[in-house]
Symmetry: C2
Subunit: 243 residues, 2 copies
DNA sequence: TTCTTGCAAAATGTATACAACCGGTGTTCA
DNA sequence: TGAACACCGGTTGTATACATTTTGCAAGAA
């Protein structure tokens, strides 16, 4: 065991199992055999069990009453509620930030990100810098989370650890689809409005905007599930969703 | 290892460590030595580490960058935000229940609990059945949580696993204080209003009521911290709060 | 056929051994 | 005198052995 391996087997286990689940290599509902997984990942059962316990807390696997874990099955309602929950929590973060005030330096960061996001949307839908928008969008949301206290940030991060509840869930490179691209213009308008609401100390408005902003993800979800199911494969996290 | 001990050492470890922390036997900020704890609880390090990892997820202990865990220090703001978060999440549960509708049987359960809660408040402040109210109150809130989907219920349960964020945090037997007793009449009125709002499908009202209801806990907290610090000892969870 | 019963293989939960690492202390050298 | 360094106790992270339980399956009886 080398120096750089310290506390790293657990990390490998966590990422490895998560990847196996999200990629769909292990079907939803199937039991996770510790020995098989440990062998597959080339680690022992101890760090693997730690990873499984953590994934249980994250909600990606269920604990079986008689022992062990199984890949959780997500219904459409589960996904919708996870997205709703993200909206509620981000909304709370923004409301409290607006009510309590934010240091100017942080507002400056947000403004800079807004400007950068705008530049990626300059051109037409076809030529816009989609990849760069995705990165900046993730950074923007993380800055928003940073406005909240540790207690609230923890919950946001837990909820968004579900792959389909993250702000980037439908914005991966694989999911570069015209319908999703078009939604970015409205999303960016909401970004600006959210920052403005915080600056104006309009807590309720900030909260409402964050909730509505998360609804974009729900729209994208419903577009995939109801109108163009061929896209399911493009959004990896959705392999977990049944019917 | 006997039959009934299966998967029970982990439970004992979890409850044991949590108790040591909440009771204040281990000071906030101090490091948790695995070997010492394991010996103290009479178990091996393996289930103990599982318990510590879980407490880390719950937010009761922090992970130390160089390895291991320490009892988390909670500021007053941490506690306030945890209570606020409970209000937000319970509010979301109620709003969604109101918007989506609730099966009559469940509403019946809630009404029965309301009636029982009322009976405990019949007499004067001095003779009311405080202990019974506490139990019924906990049951009532759990029923409310049951109205939400699994995804949301999970988060509620995680947040309320912090001892001072639970609906019963300031209603333990030890915390039987006139100021807290008096707040129960208003609380019960809010209970009735919340159920009514759900029945009337008034989602926004239900959400607001749940948030305001959680504020009672904040009032009690501030009463303890600002007006009668001698009560800190009566509310065990507050031994974790610094300054 | 279908349900019950017994058994064996596999899986989990726990204990323990081992290796790497962190922090502090004493020593040594400039 | 002070700083660098080597070492050592104590601690965590990992691997593995072991005991008990779960479970799938086959055989037998109703």
């Amino acid at each position: 065991m080398e120096k750089s391996d310290r506390a790293q087997q657990s990390q490998r286990a966590l990422m490895g199992v998560r990847d196996l689940i999200v990629s769909g290599e292990i079907r939803a509902g199937s039991r996770l055999s510790e020995v098989a997984l440990a062998e597959k990942l080339g680690i022992s059962r101890t760090p693997l069990r730690a990873a499984l316990a953590r994934l249980g807390q994250e909600g990606l696997v269920d604990t079986i009453p008689s022992g062990g874990y199984a890949v959780r099955r997500f219904t459409r309602e589960d996904v919708i509620d996870a997205i709703e929950l993200r909206g509620v929590l981000e909304g709370t973060a923004l409301r409290l930030a607006a009510e309590r005030g934010v240091a100017p330096a942080r507002m400056g960061d947000l403004h800079r990100l807004l400007v950068e996001l705008d530049t990626t949307l300059r051109g037409t839908v076809e030529v816009m810098d989609f990849d760069r928008y995705v990165d900046l969008n993730a950074a923007f949301h993380e800055r928003l989370w940073g406005l909240a206290s540790q207690t609230i940030r923890r919950e946001i991060e837990r909820v968004t650890s579900l792959p389909f509840a993250s702000p980037s869930a439908f914005l991966d490179k694989q999911a570069d689809v015209p319908a999703f691209r078009r939604s970015l213009y409205g999303a960016q308008a909401q970004h600006r409005a959210m920052v403005n609401a915080i600056e104006m100390r309009e807590g309720a408005r900030a909260e409402s905007l964050a909730r509505e902003h998360a609804r974009l993800a729900r729209q994208n979800l419903e577009h995939v599930l109801d109108e163009d199911r061929s896209l399911i494969r493009r959004v990896p996290a959705l392999s977990l969703v049944m019917g």
